[in-house]
Amino acid sequence: MKNNLLKYLRTEILPTEFCAGCGCGTVLNIFCHVVDEMKINPDDIIMVTGIGCSSWIPSPYFSADTLHTTHGRAIAFATGVKVMKPEKHVIVIAGDGDLAGIGGNHLIHAARRNIDLTVFLVNNYIYGMTGGQVSPTTPSSVPTTTTPYGNTESPFKIAELVAAAGANYAARWTTYHIFHLKKAMKDAIQKKGFSFVEICSQCPTSYGKRIGMREGIDQLKDFRDNSIDIRKVSEYDENVLENKFIVGKIAERTRPEFTESLRKINMKFDEERA
């Protein structure tokens, strides 16, 4: 008996090359459920991604048109795609290093522009693919291969930042919160304008071991035990919150969408000529 969802995958290359227990696989799994439950035809999806383990979720595994771009630039490429194919779901799945590190500018500008992309940022708190260097979401003090004496920097609250940049939708969930995450991913896809879900995800190989969590399940339990619903944040002290996963919807708005505004200009000339 085969999983019915495998029809969404490029099965010839399964099993995945992800490490055992890696959260990337869970994201892939839930994304398949989302597409299935929303009855989206994968032919109507264009996946765009960058470079990193998380980028392998869409590329090569998810079977749709796939644009695997350069490191950090997925959103820029996706912008070109969406402008030319506004009727398609243009979905970006990539890592914290890719989207918030080198690609941070494209992320905030796309949010500002409010272009109708759906971005799932798989935050494993590390540069996984290159072997565990500090990322812009690595918590302070954590030792990584490039912060052997502990991270001297503070992490982004990336979903909040994207909200501040102007996105129509921003949320954060973890790979433990599968049902909420599924719902959030659906909401994000449905939402017109720029929508963003930060998915906190385990990376046992390159990150977990650095914080004493050698197996994927250890980080999942951490997500379970240390998450706080964003609506309850005010009940906590700020320094308690520092090390918690604040989950939930961070922003939802209805600012005008970019490609529609572009089309309106063209329509003006269409009319002139008609």
Partner: protein
């Protein structure tokens, strides 16, 4: 002399090769070590090559391996063809089934022994190193011991030396 260590990522394959290479240098030979990177390093068929020569090494790619050490079935399947005619195969009989492979082969049940003797599968590689070197006498065992002490954290050094010596005795 081209030696290839292979197995799963995380089994200490790379460390074996590095220890062996450095031992060769301590033994006044020339050595080069290379390894696999990227997702193959995480997957089932990670490899670590060591070239040992008395003279300067001009050839960077072993055109064939004189010795293949296999610590996983996928690794064995992937790399068995790299063994030259008359090459030697070493493998962990707990993890690898060589079926009707046509080569001079030596196996020990390294993982099992490691677990039984030291409570940790991880020592399997060092046991194998002892076994391999005893069978082939490529390097002075004292150099290997020195190399082990150089590379493993000092609190594990003695156990590793024990494992190495145990491997030698399996000859």
């Amino acid at each position: 002399m081209n030696i290839r260590f292979t197995g799963f990522g995380g089994q200490g394959i790379i460390l074996s090769g590095v220890i062996y290479g450095w031992a060769a240098i301590l033994d006044n030979k020339n050595a080069i070590q290379t390894q696999s990177y990227g997702s193959s390093a995480r997957g089932g068929a990670c490899k670590c090559d060591v070239i040992i020569q008395d003279s300067y090494i001009y050839e960077l790619v072993p055109s064939g391996n004189d010795i293949l050490v296999a610590f996983s079935q996928p690794a064995f399947e992937k790399y068995k063809k790299s063994l030259i005619k008359n090459g030697l195969l070493f493998y962990d009989s707990d993890l690898v089934n060589i079926d009707k492979f046509d080569a001079e082969s030596y196996s020990i049940s390294a993982t099992d022994i490691a677990f039984k003797e030291f409570g940790q599968k991880l020592f399997a590689n060092i046991i194998m190193l002892g076994f391999l070197n005893a069978k082939t006498s490529i390097i002075n065992p004292e150099a290997i011991e020195e190399s082990i002490r150089h590379y493993v954290p000092s609190k594990f050094a003695d156990t590793n030396i024990k494992a190495f010596k145990l491997g030698m005795k399996l000859n």
